[in-house]
Amino acid sequence: MDVEERLFRQESGRIVTALSRMFGLDNIALAEDVAQDVFCRALEVWKLRGVPENPSAWLMRSAKNRAIDLLRRERIARKLEPELGRLLESEWTLVPTVNEFFSAESIKDDELRMIFSCCDPQINEETQVALTLSIVCGFTTSEIASAFLRKRSTIEKRIERGKKSLAKSKRLFDMADGELTTRLSAVHRAIYLLFNEGYHGASAETSVRSELCREAMRLGGLLLENRLVSSPVTYALCALMWLHAARLPTRLDRKGELTPLRDQDRSSWDASLIAAGNDLLDRAAFGPDLSEYHLEAAIASVHSNAANEDETDWARLVWLYDMLVTIRPSPVVELNRAIAVAQLKGPERGLEAIRSIERGEELALYPFYSAALGELEFRAGHAGSARKHFEAAVALARNRVERRYLEGRRDAVR
């Protein structure tokens, strides 16, 4: 079940990408219809004939045949750009041209170009992410809506707007474009948001969330494979995702309950992901750019390489958070810094740090802000105040998992 589901996700992205390079980005709806149709037909056949050995190749082949069929019957070629249209209109060149579009090599390049097309800085970040999820990752509108706790209609409108903006350019983003560097930062940001939504997000469905993390890592992997975009920042972003993903299985336990870092069984962290993450972080350490991803990856690496909470290098963490606050000031980063300060210098100093957070009022609705206050008040010996903060945190919980965890903390305060 799982295998086929991921299969559609990946293949639909690839099919839509190959087809929309052929038909033009303004015909993306047609490309999506074809992908959906190919998949539904495959399911009808597999129902009786069983799933073939290489379903992915099977889907690609039938998408290709369907494209040839459409080009022959519907005379779509006439509407395409003249140069390509001629190749696709002539029976002599039709099949070889379509074959080229569906070759493994071009699909890989095109997938990357499609990600860059979706992450157009002209459209807002949330729309970039939704568009990428929809086109490149094959998520349905409802899945995206449930991942981001938004109404289906909101996401629908957002994607529609994004597609209109995509259609303006007709062609996929050209990696030789002078805008590549700007786009690359937008792509990094979108992948980062995608991963974060999976890792910290508010959706209660664990399956959706680990899927988001997996997709973010897959997209990161595509960037690593292309020398034009495998910059130190790309390495840093991937290091950050790999190191966090290593802890994912213990962060949410088998019952889907939230387990804080302190209580996680570190022996169940994925050692191979940690090793790969550390390696990526090493490779990120060249060139002049020190990005927020470098710092976040370094922070994750400190945690991943510590045997337990006591042996964690809190001084280094405070130092890293200090730099992160400078590069990307945000109340959430400052909150995390304050927690590290508390570990290093005691709860009173941590509470001071929390109180001096700039724009701290933005955290008013963030349940883990109240929870952090509760935690530190408790450690400082103020049970009454701690309980009040936990009470507030429970009221702000965004889903069942968070609520259960916070209630547990509240009840632990006696």
Binding site: M1, E4, F8, L48
Partner: protein, 109 residues
Amino acid sequence: MSEFVYLYRGGRRAETPAEGEVVMQRWVGWLQDLASKGHVKDQGQPLEAEGKVVRGRTVTDGPYPESKDIVGGYTLIEAKDLAQAAELAGGCPIHDFGGLVEVRPVMKM
């Protein structure tokens, strides 16, 4: 053992790929189970919904009179008798999607 044809008639199509996958897996599971018990002679083929109807010299396109009756596929089954063949058809996932299985004995000479 006698041979029977299962004709799968009607049944709504899945609405999303995700639902389709679940349905597909159930079919695969059901047929695998039948095959492991030696009941599947030929797993058969799915059929396109569209086609032509030929009556004498008149050839017309579908649609057929009742779309719910369209044969969507067939399987060749081996069973002890019609009763057993009918009983085995009861497990087909098509029943949950508004379709039916027509069980027809292959004529013996």
